[in-house]
């Protein structure tokens, strides 16, 4: 049986018995989306490194409590989301003007600069959202989770997720509306 056929749940069970090779397979499979989620939420590399490493350690510590009936991805989403939210709540708001890099002169220099400026504007708009709204937006727009899955990750109800997304979207529209490439 090839490694790709071994389910995440089976790997978790093996890890709970001390099999670190199984845990390494879990790390390889899930580090990319965990990294992307944490970075999109936090916006800083060093914080993302800390959170992702801590998320895997939490996963390792709780393997004996993990119930195979629960989806692994939902379970790990919960861990990553909770760590990101805790980090955001502890952090003092830091308003930084991220200066877009000056692109090398070339035929696409203008396009690159516009893209960089757009990225900076999106980053600022996301950072301006309250943490719960920001996490709901990130899980919806970047991880494409449905309301049930977002509710499980945030340990809330689908109705509460709908409200978080509605408020988050309204704020984002208001923040980004001034941009010519948005309206």
């Amino acid at each position: 049986m090839s490694d790709s056929m071994i389910s995440n749940e089976s790997l978790m069970q093996a890890t709970s018995k001390g099999d670190l090779e199984a845990f390494e397979e879990i790390v390889r499979r899930h580090q990319t989306w965990a990294w992307n989620l944490a970075y999109r939420f936090l916006g800083q590399r060093d914080e993302t490194e800390d959170v992702v490493q801590e998320a895997f350690m939490r996963l390792l510590d709780t393997t004996n409590r993990y119930q195979p009936s629960a989806s692994f991805k939902t379970y790990f989403h919960q861990i990553v989301a909770r760590l990101c939210l805790d980090r955001a709540k502890k952090k003092q708001p830091l308003f930084m003007e991220a200066v877009p890099e000056t692109p090398d002169p070339g035929p696409d220099a203008d396009e690159v600069m516009i893209r960089n400026e757009a990225a900076v504007a999106v980053r600022a708009a996301l950072d301006a959202l309250p943490p719960n709204q920001r996490m709901a937006i990130v899980l919806r727009y970047y991880d494409h989770l449905n309301y049930e899955e977002i509710a499980a990750a945030l340990e809330t109800s689908p109705k509460a997720v709908e409200r978080l997304l509605a408020r988050g979207r309204e704020r984002l529209r208001a923040t980004l509306a001034a941009r010519a490439d948005f309206s």
Binding site: E24, V52, F56, E162, R173
Partner: protein
């Protein structure tokens, strides 16, 4: 018929495909009649392309190695902290348990035997004096020097010399 206020609240869920069929149809009927809500929906649709114009740096190549190094350390700490004789006994197999009991019995028995044999005896012990090995020389330290002996003659000579010198 849904009002604009009610409809606006459900536009996001409508866009996300999270409404029931009935609710979806209600929203669509309203949108057919309401320019303002159609504009609001159009604004929501623009969010997705705007938000995805946002690159994420790649996962660092050292991340897996660092996580696994921390995992190995954590495993060692857990094993060290979690060990106890009772826990060991519970997880040990039957042959190992039997061997441990056997070793305990042998150790206790050996200790008892050694302690028994090395205990001091309760009988009285008679101490016999050993003969002095110098007795064979018949040395007498306290009586006069034997007459005719060299020592006696020496002593007589010294005494005579002292008398003459006075």
């Amino acid at each position: 018929m849904w009002s604009c206020v009610k409809n606006r609240k459900r536009l996001g869920a409508y866009l996300d495909g999270e409404l029931s069929r009935r609710e979806q149809e209600s929203v669509e009927r309203h949108l057919q009649r309401c320019d303002s809500c159609r504009l609001a929906l159009s604004g929501l649709k623009k969010l997705e392309p705007a938000l995805t114009a946002f690159d994420v740096p790649p996962v660092p190549s050292w991340l897996t190695a660092r996580v696994m190094a921390a995992a190995r350390n954590r495993q060692r700490e857990v094993i060290a902290a979690d060990w106890s004789p009772l826990k060991w006994w519970r997880i040990a197999s039957a042959p190992i348990q039997a061997a441990a009991i056997g070793m305990l019995i042998v150790g206790l028995s050996l200790g008892l035997v050694l302690g028994w044999t090395s205990a001091p005896s309760s009988k009285q012990v008679t101490v016999t004096a050993q003969p002095d090995p110098l007795d064979i020389y018949q040395l007498d330290y306290l009586s006069d020097l034997p007459s005719g002996s060299i020592a006696s003659s020496y002593m007589t000579l010294i005494a005579a010399t002292n008398e003459a010198g006075r």
